[in-house]
């Protein structure tokens, strides 16, 4: 083995840890956004390693749409307890009750877009200056130009024309009061890197990621999990019991499953390596228009 060169996973890990530490050092009140998905579970793992043996010096924030999978919430609570992190939860339901947002109605209703308001309110409530997220550049075209340190104006909005150049590993986190940053330590990872890292580090994941039987509603080619009162069949749609797994985990109304027999990490890595559709391709929210992701990012979505 060449003792001068580390594996790509080691280098990606080291880069992510470096960025987490820069955030802790450059900002007074950072926060780690936790969605319950595998990327944010990896992020918590990286944060743990970045500050070991000290505790993670910032809290985790979870925006709960109220339409989460039960497995996600159970897993979240156990993880937080295990590593001794501080967790803050804010609910989209509260934003609805306060009249901050108006909920979509009907069978296609999704709370996905409403999360943005709840998130921005929570950032404001705690005066968080830097929100660390698990977004990756390979997920979607609009993210390919995203910075590690992404500057947001006083309204939490992203201006693609006004982003700071990032050279070498020098990250400029200086800002006016009220402005903020979104920081993406695993920008350079691909889905396959994430899975290989999960394997290497033996990171536990919610069972949703592995092959299981579930009642499914097929809608516009997307396989949604049946959930009473949230996702249910209309018109010609049916509920079928299928063998599936999830490649991403988010709000139930827009997280699509894939038919899969992959029941171990190795199975999944093999599947991902030969996959024919991107992770986000299984998400209903990106299909609305070609520039859908960019629009949502401008508004403050992650």
């Amino acid at each position: 083995m060449n003792t001068f060169i580390r594996s790509h996973l080691k280098q990606l890990e080291s880069e992510a840890i470096y960025i987490m530490r820069e955030v802790a050092a450059q900002f007074e009140r950072p926060v780690l956004l936790f969605s319950g998905g595998k990327d944010s579970i990896v992020m918590v793992h990286l944060a743990y390693k970045a500050f070991y043996p000290a505790p993670i010096p910032f809290p985790l924030l979870h925006v709960d749409t109220g339409h989460n999978f039960a497995e996600t919430l159970t897993f979240r609570d156990r993880l937080v307890e295990k590593i001794g992190a501080r967790l803050i939860v804010r609910y989209v339901q509260d934003s609805i009750n306060q009249g901050r947002v108006v909920e979509e109605t009907g069978p296609y209703a999704s709370r996905n877009a409403l999360q943005t308001v709840t998130l921005l309110d929570a950032l404001k409530e705690f005066k968080f200056e830097a929100a660390i997220g698990g977004a990756r550049r390979d997920e979607e075209k609009a993210r390919a130009k995203e910075r590690f340190f992404s500057h947001r104006d006083a309204f939490g909005q992203w201006d693609p024309k006004n982003q700071r150049p990032e050279v070498w590993n020098l990250f400029n986190g200086k800002k006016q009061p009220k402005e903020s940053f979104r920081v993406f330590p695993i920008s350079n990872w691909t889905e396959l890197d994430v899975w290989m890292y999960i394997k290497q580090e033996k990171i536990a994941l919610p069972s949703l990621y592995f092959s299981h039987k579930r009642d499914i509603v097929k809608r516009d080619g997307v396989l949604l999990a049946f959930a009473d009162g949230i996702v249910y069949p209309v018109e010609n749609e049916t509920v079928d019991n299928m063998v599936i797994r999830f490649r991403t985990i988010g709000d139930m109304t827009c997280t699509g499953a894939v038919e899969s027999e992959a029941s171990t990490i190795d199975d999944i890595i093999e599947e991902v390596a030969s996959a024919r559709i991107t992770e986000r391709g299984a998400r209903a929210d990106d299909k609305r228009s070609e520039a859908a992701m960019e629009e949502r990012k401008r508004q403050g979505y992650f």
């Binding site: 996973l9 500050f51 390979d138 006016q176």
Partner: protein
């Protein structure tokens, strides 16, 4: 098997087919997904394109897609079983320099695309220049669109030859040429059947096998402290990423700026304590002694220290729409340290197309300039050429908080003569009338040891007069006589020590001042110093003379008829000067002041080199510098 990581940047102009090449790499390595291909097909169809435009895969933002240009660095990923690749895709329009610098800053390899139909354009050279400036160790010149020139070997060879000639001027370490067609896929991933005459690697093969990590500095341990961990009374650790070198427990270290010393106790990671950590590793260090260390401090190995200065000589790339402000304060972010600074001098800017230096009073977006930076507290740095991590910095405008420049440290700043204000007369060294400080005991002892005396032989004359030819021959002769020599000429001085100087009167003066100082050092160490410089100005030669004691400075006027020199023209310089390509060329467009009382006049269009060398040796013997033939 371990998968390695290679970061590379791609540079090319709008129509060189860069996006198509990246699309091709992603497509042929099966890094694309059905939905991505479908999305591109949908977009192509809607725009009315006849073919599926692979370039659409990599053009990210909406505004760019509308204008059909990419305006920012985009990052792409693909992998083979051997390596993972991170591509920094830098667009080729007007903001090019800023984007290229950004993409190149983390790259280990740069691909420069050349359109085979157009040959080597100014921008192809610019790309190579910037890649070299940023010290990217590997350069690939991909000659693209070979399908449109019928895969013609001649055309390819001509481009290779032309670029090779140009690249001789760069300090590029490794250049590989590959003829490709990104559109058709020739020599990108699959070997081309259309170009049997090419027996080199395909682009992907080269990317998979080129040496990685070669640019890392494995020697000088530098550890900028990022964050201090104090979970309890018993643990005090310093978190950071090793910038260069390696470290083990029990090694002795020094902390800057305090200068305090200690010993490494443990190298901590969440898995285990390590026996060794290397450049790029994010670790936590604990020390044997309780010393005060905070973010921005740098831990280094004892006996291997960085440079320290608050006067920094640097090359910077201006990245902001707001031009450089001569009176402004900036933040310098260097490693994990941020200090205040101002730009105390703007020496010149570099035209990235011609690589010429130009006088300037300001730096605008995409300008590259040589500056002197004065910081409020000293920086602890290495030269960028030796250490990218500790030799780089950014400038931040404190009023907007924007990153306005990227900088590369060349070294401690010298008193570079001022090109922007005052004339040559006022910029003269203050010590014109310095006289020799007599009686250096060491010099005498050194001369005794060497068996001859020290002297400066100053050869002056027009370009092509034969100065260096004579000096070279003379040096051989002196060597044979066991005389210790030091040979300084325009070529070796201007490549190194005086690499920052141009050819204006002020720069020529500074050039000679430095040469004279070096010659003086050689002299005081008992050498016969041979200086071969046009040195057209009498006052500059007088200055050199003022540094030496009487009887030790020999001005040798190498005289030649200018018409003879023009005919000789060994470097093709006269031709260029006469055509106006070189400005301020001595004898053509700049003056040469003949010496009035030189110690010796030699005429190379009359006497042979050997005869002249004999004459000089005779002079040195008669003046007691070297002993007559023993």
């Amino acid at each position: 098997m371990t998968i390695e990581l290679l970061r590379f940047s791609t540079a090319g102009s709008v129509d060189d087919g860069k996006s198509t090449l990246i699309g091709r790499l992603l497509y042929d390595t099966k890094s694309l997904f059905e939905d991505q291909i479908e999305a591109v097909e949908r977009a192509s169809a809607r725009r009315g394109d006849e073919y599926v435009d692979l370039a659409l895969l990599t053009d990210g933002l909406k505004a760019e897609r509308e204008q059909k240009i990419t305006i920012d660095v985009a990052y792409r990923y693909f992998a083979t079983p051997k390596r993972k690749f991170i591509i920094a895709d830098t667009p080729g329009h007007i903001q090019y320099t800023r984007n290229m610098v950004t993409g190149a800053s983390t790259a280990e390899l740069a691909i420069v695309l050349i359109d085979a139909r157009n040959g080597v354009l100014t921008q192809s050279k610019r790309h190579g220049f910037l890649a070299t400036l940023l010290r990217i160790p590997h350069l690939v010149i991909a000659v693209n669109k070979m399908d449109l020139v019928d895969y013609n070997e001649e055309i390819y060879n001509r481009i290779v030859q032309e670029y090779t000639e140009f690249a001789a001027k760069l300090e590029a370490q490794d250049i590989t040429y590959i003829p490709i067609s990104a559109l058709m896929g020739d020599n990108v991933v699959e070997k081309s059947v259309q170009m049997p005459w090419y027996d080199g690697p395909t682009l992907l093969h080269h990317l998979e096998y080129v040496n990685v990590g070669a640019s890392n500095n494995h020697v000088d341990f530098r550890y900028p402290v990022q964050y201090v961990l104090r979970p309890n009374q018993n643990f005090r650790g310093f978190a950071g990423q090793i910038a260069s070198g390696r470290i083990r427990p029990k090694e002795e270290i020094v902390v800057f700026p305090s200068g305090l010393e200690s010993t490494i106790k443990t190298v901590v990671t969440a898995e285990s304590n390590l026996n060794e950590a290397i450049a790029g590793d994010s670790v936590v260090l604990t020390l044997e002694d309780e010393i005060d260390i905070s973010r921005g401090d740098m831990i280094v190995r004892k006996g291997n220290l960085p440079q320290k200065s608050n006067e920094i000589d640097a090359t910077i790339c201006w990245m902001s729409e707001t031009p450089f402000n001569a009176n402004g304060m900036y933040w310098v972010q260097h490693t994990t340290r941020t200090v205040r600074a101002f730009i105390s001098k703007l020496n010149y800017k570099i035209d990235v197309d011609t690589m010429h230096r130009e006088d300037t009073k300001t730096l605008q977006l995409n300008d590259i300039g040589r500056v002197q930076l004065t910081t409020t507290e000293p920086l602890f740095y290495d030269r960028y050429a030796l250490n990218r991590a500790t030799g780089s910095f950014i400038l931040i405008d404190p009023t907007t908080n924007n990153t306005v420049a990227a900088g590369m440290i060349r070294g401690r700043s010298l008193q570079v003569s001022d090109l922007t204000e005052g004339d040559a007369e006022t910029a003269r060294p203050k010590s014109t009338n310095v006289v020799w400080e007599a009686g250096s005991l060491m010099m005498e002892k050194r001369e005794q040891l060497k068996g001859h005396k020290g002297a400066i032989l100053w050869f002056t004359g027009l370009s092509g007069s034969g100065k260096s030819t004579i000096a070279n021959k003379l040096e051989e002769k002196l060597y044979a006589e066991n005389v210790h020599t030091l040979f300084l000429d325009g070529d070796n001085m201007r490549h190194g020590l005086n690499g920052d100087l141009g050819f204006s009167a002020a720069d020529r003066q500074e050039n000679i001042r430095r040469v004279a100082e070096v010659a003086k050092l050689g002299l005081t160490h008992g050498n016969v110093v041979l200086c071969s410089f046009i040195s057209p100005y009498a006052r500059d030669r007088a200055f050199a003379r003022s540094l030496a004691p009487d009887g030790r400075f020999f001005e040798i006027f190498v005289k030649v008829d200018i018409e003879v020199a023009k005919r000789r023209d060994p470097k093709g310089l006269y031709a260029k000067a006469l055509s106006g390509e070189i400005k301020e060329f001595t004898g053509i467009s700049a003056p040469y002041e003949e010496p009035h009382q030189p110690e010796l006049v030699v005429e190379t269009d009359i006497d042979s080199v050997d005869a002249i060398v004999e004459k000089i040796v005779g002079m040195l013997q008669s003046q007691g510098i070297i002993s007559p033939k023993s």
